[in-house]
Every structure is written in structure tokens, then in C-alpha cells.
């Protein structure tokens, strides 16, 4: 079915509630609906299996307009249908759609705390990103929010962590994080355990929430490119690529073929570095440190190549708006090919290790199994979804940039357990290596950049890129000025969290780090803060008491 047909189907499905139809871009359909009709409209799309809910973007149209907007983006291949709900600034309420589409929970919590759009029927009402002591009725993404408002807020030193300890006859709460020895975003989990078995799982994000989307609204387009590169240090190139793709679509600038090829090449190298990093961390979680060290040693080959091409190991800034800034010469091409040959042999070796090593298989085979229907229901993305047999890959569904000319083949597995996730990621690397070779052999000639205007024409666009962890979604709006009006980023990890929280329940606590690593946020949760019970009085100590005791003990 062509994109146009898909959009027509969506329009027919949404006809009963349709108030206004907008076609902002060729592959997009915006349907304005009343907030009351949202639940029915979303379930119509969902029941007809028209794509999946990719993101919910909130927008503040300004104090004068007195209006907020919530955009529910459904993606089906390259076609995107957005349900546009217009709400008054005071007393904005939408019904929840999390009962039919579970991943919507996180998106709804986000618009609730960022825009103050009340979501009726939302089960969890805690903050998702903002600190617990954030004042109510202060919504950071609204246009009239100022940094001073945040500065004026008292940073309380109250204990924000849930009290660990005995919660029933045999159950304990084990908090994990946010400080942990290995790497990546700090996150806090609390698992209720009955003996060794997890009976409930909760998660708290926001330790690394900096407010990038708001900061983007006060920086120029070029400055923003470097800001978005630093959303994540591991997939920095894909973030910068998604942002520049969006801005180029708005400016209607055609990026030269050579620049697109180099973008895909760097993205391929980044995927290799990211997946090898992930393999090492997962091996570390399983107690298989030898594999950790080996995969990180081989990862240095990619780091060398990235450094040779771009001049930096991490945050390489290969992109500029309208193209790339680094050239691939003969010498580099040769070095990359040599590197790829070495990596391919190593990746084949690791593929053998993860499918044959008995100790590792004990930790991966049949653990955290997610079936294909479950993966669809949770809205999983990237390798986590593909391991369950869900064919979801933006590079194949909606090829962008050079992926039209140098396509990659889809890698899926059917088991859906941790072993399948290892296999999918490693096989994907072989596919990436193959694609990189074909780029190097058939590199188009031409300039590296196209001229970009300083002011980007008014409009709004969606850029989707397959990051190593899954689909990355950027929504960019310009009013024709030198700075964007709104940039919304939906990262793949946010969608994949559900898989951990659902699958941890009923498993042993020891499997939890593996489950978390399996979706590739790579938390290394060795650090646990366990409940301290005073043996003399058998009384549970509060955080405050424990802390005071610690200070007292060490100052003796």
C-alpha cells in the first residue's frame, strides 16, 4: 500500500470525529479532533492496526492564543497520522488512551508535567522527569515559564526516595540506583521482593533530566545542532542527524548524495560502537567479564575509525545543517575497510559465544521472553522489538537519506528472550558492516554541504531515524525565525521501559540487571542499597538516620 493510500485509509477511519484535515507534508495527515473524541479515534486507529503510537507532542500556542495542543502521532511506514487535540490553556483535560495503548502512559505523564494537560484516568500520577519537589502549577514547557521560576524554587533536602524495607509479611522493597558503578543515565528502581522473587517493580527517571527541549527554544538552529548531539553521548550522531534532517526538510534543502552517504557511514560505525558497548555491559551484568573486556577492546577499533574520520571519539559532530563536515578520502576508506574486516571476524566470534557458551545461555535463554503480540502491545522499538519477531525498523519501513540508495536488510528473531536480543544486535552489525562496504565501494562524488538559510521557513515537520536502540522521533516547529519554536524528542528507551517493568515481575531479583540491560539502557545495577535493620532493636532505619550514622561513624 502506498503512503497516499495509507493516509486515505486513516482519514476514512477518523471521519466520524474529524473537525478539520490538514496535510502539512506529503507523508503526513493531521486530523483535528475534540478532546472527548480522542479515546474513540485512537482506538479506531489501534483496532484497525493502522501503525503504532509513536509519540505524543505537547505544544503551547502562546498566552494570547490561550491554547495548548496535544499531537498524537501514529506511524505506519513512512505515513504519519497526527491526532491534533486543541485545548484551552486553563483547565486542559484529555482522556487517557493508556488503557488501549499501554506505552502511552509515559507520553501522557510527560505532557501532564511539562504542559499541565490533565490526563483523565491516568493510573500513575507521579512525576516522570521533574524532581519531586517541583512546585505544582509550574509547567516548564509552557511559553511563559522562565528559568527564574525554577531558580526561585527551594531545593528541598527531604528524602525523596521511597522508604525501603519491610512492606508485608515476607516482602521487602529493594531500591536500586541511581548511583551505579558502570555507566549511563542514572535511574532509580524499586523492586518489591518476596524472598528472591520480584513481585512488583517501580521506576523513577529524571536524574539526568536537564531540560534540553526548553533550552532549544532559546538557541539558534546551529547551536541546537550541538545541543541535540549531547542528548546522548552514545548515539550522538543519530540525534544530530535526526535534527538536521528535520531542519533540512523545513528549509526544503536537498542534501548532497555524498553527504548522505557519509552520514549513513558514520551512523553505521556508531551502531557498531553502541552494540559492542552494549554486549560488553550485558556480559558484565551476567558476570562474564572476559567477554566485557574483549568486546570493549574490539570497540576501540571503531573508536579509532570514528576519530580518524571526525576528529573525536565521542560526540563527533559529523553533521552540519545541510550536509556533513568530514570527508572520506582514499586513506580513510582503506582504513575503514581493514577495520571492518577485523570487526566482522570478531562479531562472528561473539555470535558463536552468545549462542554456545553454557554459562551465558543460563542467564539469557528463555529469560524475559516477550512474544510478538506483547511486543506490539508494549509498543517496543528497535532490536528489543525485532528480537520478538516484530519487523519494526525505520531504515526499512521509511528509508531516509542514503538508506534509499544503500538499503539494509531486516534482522529479526522469534524467541523474544535475552538470547534473541543478543543475536539480533550482533547480526545487525554484520548487516551494517555489509552496508558500509557498499557505501565505500560506491561513494557518490559531489559537494559535502548544501547552503542553508539562517532563518528556517515556518512550518512543522517530523524526522524519524533508527538509532541503535530503536526509532528516534523528532518533531520540529519553526515560525520562520532564527530559533525553533518547539523541538520534541522521543527517544526509544522511553518506549522500551515497559518491557523491563512488566517482565521483572515473577522473575528472580538476580535476573533484573540482565532484563534491564537487555533493552539496552545498559544500567549496571550492582549497587544496591539494602534495608538496614538495627540488630539490637530490630528497628528499620530511615534514610536520614542511616546517613547521620554514616557521618558519625566515619568522623570518629
Amino acid at each position: 500500500m502506498s503512503t497516499e493510500q495509507k493516509l486515505q485509509t486513516a482519514e476514512q477511519l477518523l471521519a466520524p470525529w474529524n473537525k478539520e484535515t490538514i496535510r502539512p507534508e506529503e507523508n503526513r495527515l493531521d486530523v483535528v479532533i475534540q478532546p472527548e473524541a480522542l479515546h474513540e479515534a485512537a482506538s479506531a486507529l489501534h483496532e484497525a492496526k493502522w501503525g503504532y503510537l509513536s509519540a505524543i507532542t505537547g505544544m503551547d500556542m502562546g498566552v494570547e492564543a490561550g491554547q495548548l495542543e496535544a499531537l498524537y502521532h501514529f506511524c505506519n511506514g513512512p505515513a504519519i497520522t497526527s491526532l491534533r487535540v486543541r485545548l484551552p490553556r486553563a483547565g486542559a483535560v484529555v482522556p487517557t488512551i493508556a488503557d488501549i495503548i499501554p506505552p502511552a502512559t509515559f507520553f501522557e505523564r510527560e505532557i501532564k508535567e511539562m504542559f499541565g494537560i490533565k490526563v483523565d484516568g491516568l493510573a500513575v500520577t507521579d512525576h516522570l522527569f521533574l524532581p519531586e519537589d517541583w512546585l505544582p502549577d509550574v509547567y516548564p514547557q509552557r511559553v511563559d515559564f522562565t528559568i527564574e521560576q525554577a531558580k526561585a524554587m527551594e531545593v528541598s533536602h527531604a528524602d525523596q526516595m521511597p522508604e525501603p524495607g519491610r512492606v508485608g509479611e515476607n516482602t521487602f522493597v529493594v531500591p536500586i540506583g541511581p548511583q551505579h558503578p558502570a555507566l549511563k543515565e542514572p535511574g532509580h528502581f524499586s523492586f518489591t521482593v518476596d524472598g528472591e522473587i520480584v513481585t512488583a517493580a517501580k521506576m523513577r527517571l529524571g536524574y539526568a533530566h536537564r531540560g534540553i527541549e526548553k533550552a532549544a527554544e532559546s538557541r539558534s538552529w546551529v547551536e541546537n545542532l550541538y545541543l541535540f548531539e549531547r542528548v546522548c553521548g552514545i548515539c550522538s550522531h543519530t540525534h544530530a542527524m535526526a535534527f538536521s534532517m528535520g531542519v533540512e526538510q523545513l528549509a526544503k534543502v536537498e542534501v548532497p548524495a555524498r553527504a548522505q552517504a557519509i552520514r549513513e557511514l558514520v551512523a553505521g560505525l556508531e551502531r557498531v560502537h553502541s552494540h559492542l558497548l552494549w554486549l560488553g555491559v550485558t556480559a558484565h551484568e551476567a558476570g562474564f567479564d572476559t567477554l566485557f573486556m574483549y568486546s570493549w577492546r574490539d570497540r576501540e577499533t571503531v573508536m579509532n575509525l570514528l576519530e580518524q574520520i571526525t576528529g573525536n571519539r565521542v560526540n563527533y559532530s559529523a553533521n552540519v545543517l545541510g550536509g556533513v563536515k568530514c570527508e572520506i578520502g582514499d586513506e580513510q576508506s582503506k582504513a575503514i575497510k581493514e577495520g571492518l574486516t577485523y570487526l566482522e571476524t570478531r562479531i562472528r566470534h561473539y555470535l558463536e559465544v552468545v549462542t554456545t557458551d553454557a554459562m551465558f545461555l543460563n542467564r539469557t535463554r528463555g529469560i524475559g521472553t516477550i512474544t510478538a503480540p506483547e511486543a506490539e502491545r508494549f509498543g517496543l522499538l528497535g532490536p528489543t522489538a525485532r528480537a520478538s519477531g516484530v519487523a519494526r525498523d525505520v531504515r526499512i519501513e521509511a528509508p531516509y537519506g542514503a538508506y534509499v540508495r544503500y538499503p539494509v536488510s531486516l534482522v529479526t528473531e522469534t524467541n523474544g528472550d535475552l538470547e534473541a536480543r543478543c543475536v539480533v544486535r550482533l547480526k545487525e552489525l554484520l548487516v551494517s558492516c555489509f552496508a558500509m562496504r557498499s557505501i565505500l565501494d560506491n561513494m557518490p562524488e559531489g559537494p559535502l554541504t548544501a547552503r542553508m538559510p539562517r532563518k528556517i521557513p515556518a512550518g512543522e515537520t517530523v524526522a524519524r531515524v533508527e538509532a541503535p536502540r530503536g526509532e528516534l522521533f523528532y518533531y520540529i516547529k519553526s515560525n520562520g525565525g532564527e530559533i525553533p519554536v518547539r523541538v520534541h524528542v522521543r527517544t526509544p528507551s522511553l518506549c522500551n521501559w515497559v518491557s523491563v517493568l512488566e517482565k521483572a515481575v515473577g522473575r528472580q531479583l538476580a535476573d533484573v540487571p540482565m532484563l534491564i540491560a537487555g533493552m539496552d539502557p545498559c544500567f549496571s545495577c550492582n549497587d544496591r542499597v539494602v534495608t538496614v535493620v538495627d540488630s539490637r532493636t530490630s528497628e528499620n532505619w530511615s534514610w536520614k538516620r542511616l546517613r547521620e550514622y554514616g557521618i558519625e561513624y566515619y568522623s570518629r
Binding site: P131, G206, K214, R313, V314, N315
Partner: protein
């Protein structure tokens, strides 16, 4: 009264410094970084850079650590945790602030959820600049700290602005 420590104490101090210099226990805290510095810190531990040859090992618990490696600007929510982690470390403790963001807020300076740099929250001994700093730079930072330790010279320490909140 002679203020000079006894020979026994002097010898013990020498032994302690020698032991400390050869077995640094490090701990890593991400206070809101983009992961760039974090993966470079991890890279310093893995075979290519291998800081274990200097006796440096990453520990899981602050109770076992001598050196705290902090990456990223300090977000409002991570702030309390950073102080807590610092307080949990036994004396003597050292802090290395890794990356541009942890030194000044970097590219995230002025974001609403960013409280500021690391040295505004806890005392910092060594700053390692870069976005992200290369593993060599991180190793250099640690070596500088070791040099300070060996010399026994008073360490230049950044004073946190919010005094009174950190009890050490």
C-alpha cells in the same frame, strides 16, 4: 611541646600514602551527563587504556572508594544523591570532575533543571576538561591527583558555594 609526629607515625603515614597510591578505589557518579564522559571513563578501565595497571579499580559502593569521578552538570534531582554519595565515602576522599558539563554546566548551562557545576555542590580536587575528555586526559587527571598525594602538599580544593550543606 614538640609538634613533630613521632617516627612511628611518620613511617605509618608513608606506608599509608604508598598503599593509597597503589590501590586507588574509584567510584563513578553520573549527575546528569549525556553518557559521553561515562563511556570514556569505562573505556579507561578496559584493555586499551587499562588503568588497573596503576592499581585503579572501579568499585560498586561509595563505602569502598577513595576517588569520586563525577560526570555531567548537576541536575536538581541528582544533587541530593551526589551529596549523599560523597558523604558515604570514607576519609580521605578525593573528587575528580570529568568533562566540560561538570566543570561549568557546559552546553547545558542555563537549562531549568540544571543546578550548576559539581564544585558548587561538593569540593573538587581535579578538573578534567573536554567534551568528552579522552581517556588519556582522564588518566592524566588521576595521575595529577596521585602526584598531589605523593608530594603531600596541601591540595588546591574548590570550595562549594553552598557551604554548610556538605558535612565531611
Amino acid at each position: 611541646m614538640n609538634n613533630k609526629p613521632s617516627l612511628w607515625k611518620q613511617t605509618m603515614n608513608k606506608v599509608r600514602t604508598w598503599a593509597r597510591m597503589n590501590s586507588i578505589g574509584a567510584i563513578h557518579f553520573n549527575s546528569g551527563s549525556c553518557n559521553g564522559c561515562d563511556i570514556e571513563i569505562l573505556a579507561t578501565l578496559t584493555p586499551r587504556y587499562d588503568v588497573e595497571r596503576f592499581g585503579i579499580k572501579l568499585h560498586g559502593s561509595p563505602r569502598h572508594a577513595d576517588v569520586l569521578l563525577v560526570t555531567g552538570p548537576v541536575t536538581r534531582q541528582a544533587r541530593e544523591r551526589l551529596i549523599r554519595t560523597y558523604e558515604q565515602m570514607p576519609e580521605p576522599k578525593f573528587v575528580i570532575s570529568v568533562g566540560a558539563c561538570s566543570i561549568s554546566g557546559g552546553v547545558f548551562d542555563g537549562c531549568y533543571n540544571v543546578g550548576g557545576s559539581v564544585d558548587e555542590v561538593i569540593p573538587v580536587d581535579v578538573f578534567v576538561p573536554g567534551c568528552p575528555p579522552r581517556p588519556e586526559a582522564i588518566i592524566d587527571g588521576i595521575i595529577q591527583l596521585l602526584g598531589q598525594l605523593q608530594g603531600g602538599a596541601p591540595r588546591p580544593v574548590a570550595k562549594p558555594k553552598m557551604t554548610g550543606e556538605v558535612s565531611s
